[in-house]
Symmetry: D2
Subunit: 321 residues, 4 copies
């Protein structure tokens, strides 16, 4: 494990970025990053995990009761009706023969609730994934190169739940500010008796969402939280996983581990490693099932909504056991 110098974020980020870079690994034109690891054989390995036919949604709700408070103009999703049953029942809609209809619309930041970060979401010193200039990739017209639609038909494969909260945490929840290290990840893997490797989609449960459910959102969005340690960058790189998601707002531990930094693990993982990161997922129902039957692997279908040019996208991930 890398020793962390809290006073040198710039140097630490640069070193990790260099160590974990995948630029050029899949050619100059690549837009998929670590999804390249999720090939047909990896997907078949996932399919082999379907044994009972049970299914779990890993999505949080998409509504006004979410955790967003306006940071970066991220509001909660606002859902409004274009037509209602009340109007239909009253008979004023104008359709023939008793037909009535309801229709609706949503306004939402694409990272308001359960989502995948796209490869255009984060930049490092003005560069995006694979070494492109940030301004060549994401303009006001959206992500012209690595828009989330490029990942529309990829993300279905073998999912592994690492319930770090249950294995490591006191009372099944990690405290805010708890940095999950490679040792914690490995201990959880050992405790679960699973393997994690090339092309897998890793789901790390911290218990932060369960706490928010019990105590209210409070500062769930952007505040203190357990999460991945900056020092896991190498593990994330060397395992050759295809993607990783947590039940927290920010994936990595908050506050971040440097005296002055903002989401430094993102800065390493997204533009340099090309890693797909999921945030605000809900593993609680799945985790209860995994704890009950001792099986922590499953087929995971988590196709992002293909909003053209999006740098992140909402998703309703399904875990099938």
């Amino acid at each position: 494990m890398t020793a962390l110098d809290r006073t040198d974020p710039e140097g630490a980020i640069a070193a990790a970025a260099k160590r974990c870079s995948n630029w050029g690994r899949w050619g100059a034109d690549d837009v998929l990053g670590t999804l390249n690891f999720l090939d047909e054989s990896a997907r078949l390995a996932g399919a082999a995990c379907i044994r009972r036919g049970a299914v779990f949604s890993l999505a949080q709700s998409f509504d006004m009761n979410g955790p967003q408070k306006g940071w970066r103009r991220r509001t909660n999703p606002v859902h409004t009706m274009l037509d209602t049953g009340t109007d239909a029942e009253r008979g004023s809609q104008g359709f023939p023969h008793g037909l009535g209809g309801a229709d609706d619309v949503v306004f939402m930041p694409l990272q308001a609730s359960t989502q995948w970060d796209g490869l255009g979401h984060i930049f490092d010193h003005g560069h995006a994934w694979n070494g492109r200039r940030a301004g060549d990739v994401v303009t006001s017209d959206g992500d012209l190169v690595t828009g989330i639609e490029t990942a529309a038909a990829r993300i279905a494969g073998r999912g592994v739940l690492l319930d770090v909260a249950r294995v490591v945490g006191p009372d099944g929840e990690l405290p805010d500010g708890f940095a999950i290290t490679t040792e914690h990840l490995e201990a959880t893997i050992a405790a679960h008796g699973v393997t994690v490797g090339r092309g897998d989609l890793v789901c790390v449960r911290t218990g932060r969402l369960a706490r928010a459910r019990r105590e209210g959102w409070n500062d769930y969005a952007g505040g203190a939280s357990p999460g991945l340690s900056f020092t896991t960058a190498e593990w994330l790189h060397d395992t050759e996983i295809a993607g990783i998601a947590t039940d927290t707002w920010g994936f990595e531990v908050r506050p971040n581990e440097f005296d002055d930094a903002f989401q430094p693990l993102h800065q390493v993982c997204i533009p340099n490693m090309g890693l797909f990161i999921g945030e605000m997922w809900d593993f609680d129902a799945l985790a209860a099932d995994c704890a009950a039957d001792g099986v922590h692997e499953f087929f995971l279908a988590a196709a992002p909504l293909p909003v053209t040019g999006a740098v992140g996208a909402p998703v309703n991930p399904l875990a099938v056991k």
Copy 2:
């Protein structure tokens, strides 16, 4: 097959609604309708269809280049950026150590592109699915009973592509106004050598989308189109399928088959039968693959985005073969 009296839509709709009603079939509190057919064993049957690990997205794009023209205030999705790579590269975002970010937001009718109709989308004489009063179900606050979130963790199972366009159509496309009958469906099933039954998710390809791709959207949204005949209501009911989707705007044939009617098959299927209907799906890549390998069944994961209270929801369906 029911003979269709074009001059008596009111009577025909009432008769079909009565014949095909599932009200009470799964209890007075049911909110799932035909998704009840999609149980764990049906899901396992779907999983058994994964043989190669190949995956296909069945979603159309979500952007301003879509077919919507404003009917029922349905616009195309409007995607705007909250932060861009151009800004990040210029260095004015204020993050430390070279971090830059992009973020985005979308405004979209929930039925703007590839979607599932929820059970609160259509009413029959002021009644919603399972006999509830429309105004008790869908108000300005959304669908309080059968909101699409109730289907969040269900729709993964065995998919079957019925490429009616390729089997029946001249040149692999059905003409606008072509009503697909039970006979056409059965002929396609026979030609493909597949079975369709309880709990399946049926994908009916008409070729309408391929034509729009070639010739422009024109009146894709709401205009003339091939689609299911009103007379298929009994087949849809008796097969006990869990859901059905087409590559058209409106699922059923347009113009509708009565002299004066609006989407009469919807009126039978959604509030009376409790059937899940998908619209504006894209089967073209999948269909080419099925034609090539002769295998028309697959695992289909098609979880709607769980916007709380939605009467329809966007989806990125994944077919895995």
Copy 3:
């Protein structure tokens, strides 16, 4: 002045509604309510108040830094860019000869910031202004009868600032929960040496906004606040004013004066009296000027943005002295 029985809101509201009703006063088809008082001669009286050519905007800001917290799905306005100067400067917009452009879009509840309540905003026992059934007036398609566009070309006339905060309040601010009575209004009128009458647009300053500016929004939207007493209903009716606005979220005192009620003065004034009510206006700069020169009357141009069918509308009111 009516004595207020705090335990009988239902009776008190009914009595005030009856006493102050203007139903039928301007014919069965009327959609303007008290704006009927604002005729050409009243407008000329306003024009006569322009003496220096000084102008004051009475609008609060329209942005994410506003007071909304999600009640009734009211968010703050979300403003996003469709094109930026950063993109233009970088040269990637594709316009010829060095032209660059910026464009933008807003999503906002119509009552998110400075606004007029339309006559379709509030109902009394299922009835809207002038005795119409609420469901005949405002459906999912908006206000089909009294939409704010009907008031598009009316609201310019004589404005009068009643700086109750400065006249009555300790330290120039009324405390939260302070109910402004007819006596307070009359005392302020006398102190200012102005008149208030038929067709006037009355601006009541409570100082609540100044406090929010100093101390933060806190519960500005919906929380405790000074405001009009329920007992002013008769004064509002008998003066024949055309409209009235305050610098608070809710116009009337909060908490409301009955043990169990919600905005009872609204219930009397909007559907029964047909009164135009403005909320979340900013009188602070104007009030300072009026205090300095002792002149509390002015020309007020406060045309709502004519969103067709709106039950409320944002406005940038201009006071010209």
Copy 4:
């Protein structure tokens, strides 16, 4: 009048920009441009035009029936309800004592309907008004310098209607592609017997909107249209008017007068001259009144909705005669 070389837009734009530049005229920090001409005395001159108390709204509608077709992601305004009278009448809103309510929300491009262009709307070779770099002014966070809120308390003054359509046009409408020259403007001024000068707000009627009303929107937004000739730049500069508006989508004649150009007069007027330009105004009712009484001057209150950082803003302009 400048002779126009249709083959040299680059040179012509540069020459006009240099000739008409106001950079530095009001200091390096100026954000108001030509609104500096609209001082208190100019405003008093406007007030003196109020003689009858008649008022006219110069706004078009804000709804889905507008002309936008998606260019630059500009849709028509989408207005949806958060609460309705139908729900209120049905009694399910949960308010006490018979209170019911309706609320609404809008999503709209800020230049969807009647609007003012802000000074950050157009750039010339990467520079914004007063010589600032475009990327220092308008980022994804909006216009940080000349946002429309800086003009919130200015635009009330003397309006002059130049009904060029009625004076010059055959049948009271200018044909599409008709370039209004300085000579046409002067002839209209002479025919009306008015003056135009420093600080005035000039309203130029082309009749294009009347034609759209009669024949449908067709290509109103961006298509062929009468409008100001590029050659009027000097007149716009030398008259020292505060602002100018037309009843067209694009202010200047369409197609533009160069073989290859896009809105070249904008490029001169906004970033170089600092001129406020209004588009999609509706002068028809006002024009009929002016034709009837022969008076073409009035008080014009046209305060833009102060969306913080907006590069354009909707407005409901009121003309008071």
